[in-house]
């Protein structure tokens, strides 16, 4: 078409402009609107309509087409933006709001426009602008906001907890630390970002632990442990440290997350408790030793002071009875024999009491002979056969230990006789010596033998009796399990452990195991 008049030419130009504009708008995926205010004539282009799922020819060319589709929540802002721009308060009309799609869902649009024509009074006559569908962007933004809020709350949570939380990158450089970390270590965040955690180590930090941490990091493993760390002010604290590697989908480590707790006070309390326990145990041991010593002395005194006297009396009585003559002789001899019987019984009682207090044989010959002798008497008394097996048991042990082990065997045998309905008992005493000696250059062989040797002593009492169910101790009919508890305590006071293996019908086995580090107390068997 060729323009014939300037009007026509202007119209053609206008059309060409319009077309170029449409192309540009289509390229930018923009909807277009054009609003003639005095006539309320509002036109849209095809894209504007399709954005809300409509066809252009079905849209009423009125501002109401727009107004009725704006989300009620967004309407005040959209309207206010328009009024402000129409009144010349803003240079451009620009607002985001939701429009109702034909399907009923909401789409987000970014609306931009400008008043193109005003009347003499400055009132807006015509305005035009564009719509851009920003639903996806909005959704992304929303997601981002949600994530941010989430992160923020997580951050707040991390900041709020008293434990120190650290995050490092895959190369173990710190990327994040919470407030707790600062309050524990004294290092503020800026001091530590980009550093490795090893700056917390110091001269007294256990190298073994740092090696374990290093190994865990190198192998992409978790770590849980305790390590002595240093604050910014140089003071030490015990760090209860855990860290885990964070893996990406491909299995590659992206981060490490560490949590640390100041467990100094707890460690101190633990140490104090341990010390207290140790002291109580030491006291108990001393008490047991003192008691044993009293028994030994009482036994020895009772025996040594009275027995020879009684023996002397017996000899005297014998001599007297053979010297009796005269009419009363028979009567006197009978009386003397009654007296002799009394003395004999007294001597036997003293021997028994003294042996019960502490068998003299224990001091004279050691654990094994004392056990053998006791077992023999026990057998005779109860009719239960007792076999005593010994492996290297001739070695003399510290007196207190010999006494403790003897008491345990004594108690175990008594228990067998009382409860086990056993017909045979096996007692075994095993002493094994492990020489793990570090030879110094000038150490002679004798010194070596004196040096660090470690003895393991195992004493076991096993019967073929009725046994009992685990846990039955303390319950009827095993209320006299006090014996067992006593044995256990005795074993523990002696620095060992006591184990009871029992099954109903399968007998009972009591095993005491003691490790003796220093051999200084051990005496050689007396010749």
């Amino acid at each position: 078409m060729t323009p014939s008049t300037p009007e026509e030419e202007a119209q053609l130009l206008q059309q060409a402009h319009q077309q170029r504009l449409e192309l540009a708008l289509a390229g930018a995926d923009l909807g277009m609107w054009d609003y003639h205010i005095p006539t309320d004539h509002h036109t849209f282009n095809e894209r504007w309509a399709s954005m809300i799922g409509e066809r252009l020819d079905q849209l009423d060319p009125s501002v109401r087409t727009w107004e009725t589709r704006v989300h009620p929540d967004d309407w005040p802002a959209a309207n206010a933006a328009w009024i402000a721009h129409a009144n010349g308060l803003t240079g451009i009309y620009e607002v985001e709001y939701r429009l109702r799609h034909k399907s009923g869902r909401w789409i987000w649009v970014s609306s931009r426009g400008k008043v193109l024509e005003r009347d003499a009074d400055g009132k807006a006559v015509r305005a035009a602008g564009t719509h851009l569908d920003i639903t996806q962007r909005k959704a992304a933004e929303h997601l981002m906001e949600q994530r941010l809020a989430h992160l923020q709350s997580r951050d707040n949570a991390l900041a709020a907890i008293s434990q120190g939380v650290l995050i490092t990158d895959a190369a173990q450089y710190i990327t994040y630390a919470n407030k707790g970390f600062e309050s524990i270590t004294g290092y503020p965040l800026p001091d530590i970002i980009g550093r490795k955690c090893s700056f917390l180590h110091g001269p007294d930090t256990c190298p073994e632990t740092t090696a374990r941490i290093e190994a865990a990091l190198n192998n992409g493993q978790q770590f849980h442990g305790e390590i002595l760390n240093y604050r910014k002010d140089g003071k030490t604290f015990w760090n209860g440290l855990s860290f885990v590697p964070v893996f990406a989908d491909g299995g590659k480590i992206t981060h490490y997350v560490g949590v640390q707790r100041d467990i100094t006070a707890q460690k101190q309390a633990d140490a104090e408790r341990a010390e207290q326990t140790r002291r109580i145990e030491a006291m108990s041991r001393e008490q047991v030793a003192a008691q044993e010593e009293i028994r030994r002395r009482l036994s020895a005194n009772l025996h040594d002071r009275t027995s020879p006297n009684l023996a002397a009396i017996l000899i005297n009585l014998k001599m007297l009875s053979s010297e009796c003559t005269g009419p009363q002789a028979a009567e006197i001899a009978a009386r003397l024999e009654d007296t002799r019987a009394l003395v004999e019984d007294t001597a036997a009682s003293i021997r028994e009491i003294s042996s019960e207090l502490r068998p003299p044989l224990l001091d004279y010959a050691g654990l094994l002979p004392a056990i053998e002798s006791y077992a023999q008497n026990f057998s005779r008394r109860t009719g239960i056969e007792v076999q005593v097996n010994a492996i290297h048991a001739q070695t003399r042990l510290p007196a207190a230990l010999e006494a403790a082990l003897f008491r345990i065997v004594q108690e175990a045998l008594t228990n067998c006789a009382k409860h086990a309905c056993a017909s045979a008992i096996e007692v075994s005493v095993e002493v094994s010596v492990n020489l793990n000696v570090e030879l110094s250059n000038e150490a002679s062989l004798e010194n070596t033998a004196m040096a660090a040797s470690r003895q393991r002593i195992i004493v076991a009492v096993a019967d073929n009796g009725c046994g009992f169910a685990p846990g039955a101790i303390g319950n009827p009919p095993f209320t006299s399990g006090l014996g067992l508890i006593n044995m256990k305590e005795t074993a523990e006071f002696a620095g060992g452990t006591l184990r009871v293996d029992a099954q109903p019908g399968a007998g009972t086995r009591i095993t005491v195991e003691i490790h003796l580090d220093s051999q200084q107390d051990a005496r050689k068997a007396q010749p």
Binding site: A300, H303, D304, S307, P308, N309, L310, A311, A312, I313, L314, I315, N316, K318, M319, A334, E337, D338, R340, A341, L342, E344, D345, A347, A348, R351, P360, L361, Y364, A365, P369, E372, S373, Q376, R380, R381, T382, P527
Partner: protein, 222 residues
Amino acid sequence: MKRRVLLVDDHQMFREALRALLERNPMLEVVAETGNGAEALQLAQSTRPDIVCMDIGLSATNGASNNAPMNGVETTRRMIAAQPSIKVIALSTFTEQRYVLDMIEAGATAYVTKAEASEELLRAIDAVQRDRSYFCPDVATLITSALAKPDRRNSMPPRLGAREQQVLQQVAQGSTSAQIALQMNIAAATVEVHRRNIMRKLDLHSVAELTRYVISEGLDRQ
């Protein structure tokens, strides 16, 4: 010729009783006595005894002397090493096997418990003079029971005193302690004492065992 005897026991009362007992025998002469192991060795050298009555527990009341206390076992060992012809009779309150074996190993030829010292010691002296060893019944029972485990009872006839035999007889016939006491004109408690001694000597540990013994020995039918 009189046999020369050395007494080694750290208990003086007992030594005196022993001396009185032995000196009633015209064939014995107590040449010296001591309570100390080292002194005993010197006396053995100077008095040349034939027989030594040796206590095992010498060191016990010697107490914490600065010198290592020498017990009867060690004293015997040294004495025999110096004078092998000496016969050592161990005298002890202990009856445990270990003491007996230690003394025998050290060179003693007889072992007598102090409770049985009066008659048993004289028997032991008699035996060692004839170059034989001797163990009093308590100890003999112990040794034989260690050698032959099962059914070792009655391997050595127990020696019961006259009163003890009397009481056992009555027990076998079913008398109660009260009845026996009345019959023997002694306290019931004394009868109990006799019963305890009988059971100990016979190595019996319950009334049931005592009854069994009485029946097996036919004592109830006498």
